[in-house]
Assembly symmetry: none
Homo-oligomer: 244 residues x 2
């Protein structure tokens, strides 16, 4: 966070004040002009920090009045971010995996874009087949920004060791937020062979971008799950608006 853009550092400071309770819900924040003067930055920079917090749903603006801490942070209920192993064992099943490949290499285009890496960026690339009760159910490729976790792949045996636990303990990277997308797909020959199913069988293609405690993305995951085995469950809450 030291060399992050100025507006993000300002936003982070304000976010910390909100989280710590210094700034309370519905309370008025310094105006854009007051902020810029107090911090010695231009008004546009202060404004950009506030826009960032609006995007996070932490504050809201009222023209002619000011900027206020948003009141309904509690309504931002998100789904859990837990690892494959934790989720499976919680259901009383046996989780295991085998490592298909484990290398450090240049990020491909999709990965670099997702992780906001330059085209020359290096990633640790870990491809595993996931098993539940001895049955192969998913092929998963995890890519982690190499510079964030030097020599990660030599640190532990990730057939048995939790990737997230290692990241947290050894590198201080705490998985905090993630954006996950799911789409329907069909098994190709490679997937069919790996997951012991037939080409053309339904699969769930899943991608996940994981962020650390500072909001910086560090991991990009692509998984393919057997469609006849996995069901994704989500709890929804009413977001104040509706239509059907």
């Amino acid at each position: 966070m030291d060399n992050a853009p100025l507006y993000l550092r300002i936003a982070a400071d304000l976010e910390a004040e909100i989280a710590s309770g210094v700034l309370k819900a519905e309370e008025k924040i310094d105006s854009e002009r007051a902020l810029s003067e107090r911090l010695g930055v231009s008004r546009m920079t202060a404004r950009q920090a506030l826009r960032h917090l609006i995007g996070k749903g932490l504050v809201e603006t009222r023209t002619g009045q000011g900027t206020f801490v948003s009141s309904r942070q509690i309504e931002q209920r998100l789904e859990t971010l837990s690892g494959f192993t934790e989720e499976i064992t919680r259901q009383g099943r046996q989780a295991s995996s085998i490592i298909v490949s484990s290398i450090t290499r240049r990020a491909d285009e999709q990965t670099a874009r997702a992780l906001s890496l330059p085209a020359t960026g290096m990633v640790h690339c870990l491809t595993r087949v996931r098993f539940v009760d001895g049955m192969p159910v998913a092929l998963e490729t995890t890519e982690i920004i190499a510079s964030r976790a030097p020599h990660l792949l030599e640190r532990a045996d990730f057939r048995t060791t939790s990737l997230y636990a290692t990241l947290t303990d050894e590198y201080g990277i705490v998985p905090t937020l993630a954006e996950q997308t799911l789409m329907a797909g069909l098994a190709d020959a490679n997937i069919a062979r790996t997951l012991h199913t037939d080409p053309g069988a339904p699969v769930l293609d899943l991608t996940r971008l994981t962020r650390d405690q500072d909001g910086s993305p560090f991991e990009f995951v692509r998984s393919t799950y057997r469609g006849d085995f996995f069901v994704m469950k989500v709890d929804l809450s009413l977001g104040a608006r509706t239509q059907a």
Copy 2:
């Protein structure tokens, strides 16, 4: 739109070009500098128009390369209980639907079990084909406990009227919580014909059990989405339960 802010008018023009197909998916848009010069506005104004389109998910930027039209996949956010129409229009697309059938009948076994109904329980059954930009993308069957909303189906034209709005206004039923499951599947002959795709094409099968403000389930929805158009997005955080 005549006296709207300049950047919104520019954004609307670009949006129209994307919608009409003049600008195609993955195609490169004028750079910020080129846009500003062509339109005779400052670069920051052109940039603000583009940021607005990014917010709608219509374009994406790649530093050092340019700004590109997003692939035309439709993103449905999974974790907010917002309606199909709202989610689509938020992305600057045209949502519509046609009614396949609209009857009140005995609940089938799966529905009765989901809604905790006796075997003789009656449900209002509304089957619709959902369209986005004139293209069929989903087949959806909504079943609502008949005794909770007498004569619901005669109350309004649900091609144009929001189902949830009617439930709230006329019957005091407020959709509050829902449990949603998602699985990969294949289009059968009927689905393929309805959604203008091929049998065996990937689809997303979705079911939802919706509860009112008292926690009582009142609605059971079964939907099938075209897998090549729809992507489901979920935001995850550390600290709850759920999934897989």
